[in-house]
């Protein structure tokens, strides 16, 4: 009879699908194309630091939205560790041109490079807030995790936007507001000429990851 054949086929297909789902985990690895920007203030002028290496990996479970427009609000299974090499960050002018190597040195010293070579983030929880309006629009998440700077860790919560890119890549964009003193860093007063750096920092990033090839 035809029906049992189709049924068998359907069952096999379902079995195969569920086997896939049970394994369910998709792994992503950091790819070039990321951007990290740190904005700060001082009593003289605002300043900014940029870098374009954000390393790390991401592992997502079967409930991770594969179609951005169908992302259902709620918690999704996701694990991630993110690492930004401190020495990849350089101070820049507002127009992106390199600013000052001495300021970079002061920053590295404050971030305790080379003892602490990277700014790290470990993801604890990822929750879908809003699905994408169209396939090219971002999915909005809320991410909770632990940020480690200069060897000190602090829990943070931040909004995260995920955009699907071609070639099995994803881009995660976010902003986190932190204070230097949260990480035991005294805002530097360089040059001894009364320049006082502000405590507030804004971290803005675009992290690009690509599906790990088997």
């Amino acid at each position: 009879m035809k029906t049992p054949g189709i049924l068998v086929a359907a069952l096999l297909l379902a079995a195969a699908a569920s086997a896939q789902a049970a394994e369910g985990v998709t792994q992503y690895q950091a790819k070039p194309g990321s951007k990290m920007r740190m904005e700060g203030t001082s009593n003289i002028h605002d300043w900014q630091v940029e870098g374009n290496i954000i390393g790390g990996s991401l592992e997502v479970g079967p409930n991770f939205p594969s179609d951005p427009t169908k992302a259902a609000p709620g918690k999704v299974d996701a694990k991630a560790t993110v690492s930004i090499p401190v020495r990849s960050m350089k101070s820049v002018e507002k127009d992106g041109k390199p600013y000052n190597a001495k300021m970079d040195d002061i920053m590295y010293e404050k971030l305790l490079e080379p003892t602490n070579k990277a700014i790290k983030f470990v993801l604890g929880e990822l929750v879908v807030k809003e699905a994408a309006k169209a396939a090219s629009d971002p999915v909005v998440f809320e991410a909770k995790g632990e940020l480690t700077v200069a060897g000190k860790s602090k829990p943070i919560t931040m909004p995260l936007k995920m955009t699907v890119l071609p070639d099995d890549k994803l881009k995660f964009s976010g902003t986190a507001a932190v204070k230097m003193t949260d990480f035991g860093i005294q805002p530097p007063e360089p040059l001894g000429l009364g320049i006082k750096t502000g405590d507030d920092l804004k971290l803005i990033f675009d992290w690009v990851v690509g599906k790990k090839k088997a």
Partner: protein, 452 residues
Amino acid sequence: MTASPQDLTRRDFLAGGSLATFMGLLGGVELVAQPEEAAKDEAPPTPANKVKCAVIGCGVWGREIVSTLSRIPTAQVVALCDKYPAYLKRAARLAPEAKPIEDYRKILEDQDIPVVIVATPSHLHKPVALEALQAGKHVYCEAPLATTLEDAKAIALAAKHSPKLHFQTGLHFRSDPQRPFVLNFIRSGATGKTIMARSQWHKKQSWRFTAPDPEREKEINWRLDPQTSLGLVGEIGIHQIDSASWFLGARPTAVTGFGSLMLWNDGRVVPDTIQTLFEYPDGVRFQHDCTLANSFDSDYEAYYGSDAAILIRGSKAWMFKEVDAPALGWEVYARKETFYKETGIALMVGASKQQALTEEPAQDAAKPTALQHALTNFLRNANDLSSAAEDFTTNFGSDDPKALLEHLATVPRQPHAGYREGFEAAVMALKAHEAIATGRRIELKPEWFELA
């Protein structure tokens, strides 16, 4: 540029306080680079920030480099090389921790040394520089890059095709922070329309060294041998010629030159006195003269504009305004000095008004020299490039070489003369040398400056 022992004495002379007197006799508004206030809060270099380096070629200038490196906190001289044992020994005294080596290839084989500084006689730069790049070293090669166009091109092309390695030419003026500061006054129009430029390097000295045996004597006097020397224009003038092109913002279109042997008639044929004239676009010309027969007024560069002239002497600079030039405003507060009855305005890089008024001209000895800036920047650039490559491959793997090179292109470099500046300066010096030797005006073809 190679220096003689007498140069070191001159530096001491200037540092000894007589500079203030000398400057007092002259007049000009001084452009003084701000002393390093940042040193107070500067990050003390941890061992990881130190860059291991080797100096290949320990003649007079090589030893000046070793001595300068000892003043740079991020430098760690781990090896010295010279095939002449006496020079090697003298250099070793300046860097007691460094290993003295006679064969440069041993340094190139050492994976633990990431950068080398090539300070051999100019005609011997090529094999060392090329092999160093092949061995994966960052290279600082003294100017002139080479004594023939083919050799200079070979070095420049090898550097161009080694994008993971940082190559720097020993045109140290390009690293002096005072210079872009001064250049701004020209670019911003404060000096008006550029009329002409001139420079000189005058120092009474023989240039001849003595040695225990004739073979060594011939080797050591390579600058006096027309086979191996570009003479005064290639060894000394090249710095000011490169500077002029930088400041005038153009390449010269033709060069004329003359050379004579005026004083040191010891059997040499290389002129001890030269005059060169470089033609630039729009009627601008640059004169450069150089002599080993007289020391008056030492070395300086002057850029003449319709509203003001700028005089650069070492790391100091002054602006002399024309009486009918428009007021800039700030010059009312700036310090002024009188030169030959002309009043010059001191231009201090990075200084506030109060500092401009009250600060005494810093003594030469207290400030880093252009060479020190160049070597500091070289070590930094090399280290930044290596770190960037390492961070990239650690985080993204090595299967996308194109992306790696794209990333390396974004790494900011501290001011320096790269392979392109080094090559162009070599072309100008070589052609000036040819003009002097042949007594002909030489038109400088644009294609000579091209690096395929």
